[in-house]
Subunit: 112 residues, 2 copies
DNA sequence: GAAAGCACTTTCCGGTTGGAAAGCAAATGC
DNA sequence: GCATTTGCTTTCCAACCGGAAAGTGCTTTC
């Protein structure tokens, strides 16, 4: 149980998590990568609405937080592959929970 | 264009969830309320760093999304109590997962 | 009568964010 | 030779965010 009048420690770790996942793009990018490594353009297609600039920034941030890896192959037109790390994979439970919650939330509020 | 590859429907519901929880305050406020109804000042104390203005705005948003309720008692100095709803409670799993993930993340990155 | 407490709301204002669009380097393909 | 592709980066610029601080309406306490 996470409850308790004074539970600032739990609060802190939630805060840590939220900081690392700030913005709504990061989890979506991770989700896209959870089905296999992808290239820049491919991600930008799957995560609809994101601009190149923002995607680039988010990818850097995710790499810094060791949630993804970046591999460059020096080929014809540049090939860069992004893959999710084990640490990133450990967010799958969170994504799953968010997914289910999102469904009920849509029923509750949006599809009302 | 919907690619058959990923899972755009899942992505959509995750997006819905993330939109409802946008910013890093909402989950923290919900967490504070998960241990029982609280008043404005009390929440502002527990969620350290939040300003009155933002707290007020977030509370309104949470109420609109039916994650909390607001009850006003007309007493001496005004008493307003916020409580988490069943729908809000259903986010506890997400919070729990975030909590655990935050702990390992801190080990992985911050406390390195 | 003065001060203080509660739950906000409002105003001011600087900083950050993010979209659109263009640039870039190098190697193919035509 | 020329356009094209890829994975970014840069610039411009408007919108939004959020902190600080003061105001509000009412009431109790000193």
């Amino acid at each position: 149980m996470l409850t308790g009048e004074g539970c600032p420690k739990t609060m802190l770790s939630i805060k840590d998590a939220l900081e690392a996942l700030e913005g709504s793009w990061k989890l979506l990018i991770l989700f896209a990568l959870s089905s296999g490594p992808k290239r820049f353009k491919q991600i930008s297609k799957e995560v609809s609405g994101i601009s190149d600039k923002v995607l680039s920034k988010e990818l850097k941030n995710l790499e810094q937080n060791k949630l993804i890896t970046r591999e460059v192959y020096d080929t014809y037109p540049p090939t860069v592959e992004y893959a999710i790390t084990a640490h990133g994979k450990s967010l799958e439970k969170v994504m799953e929970e968010l997914h289910f919650w999102g469904l009920t939330h849509r029923k509750e509020i949006i599809g009302k």
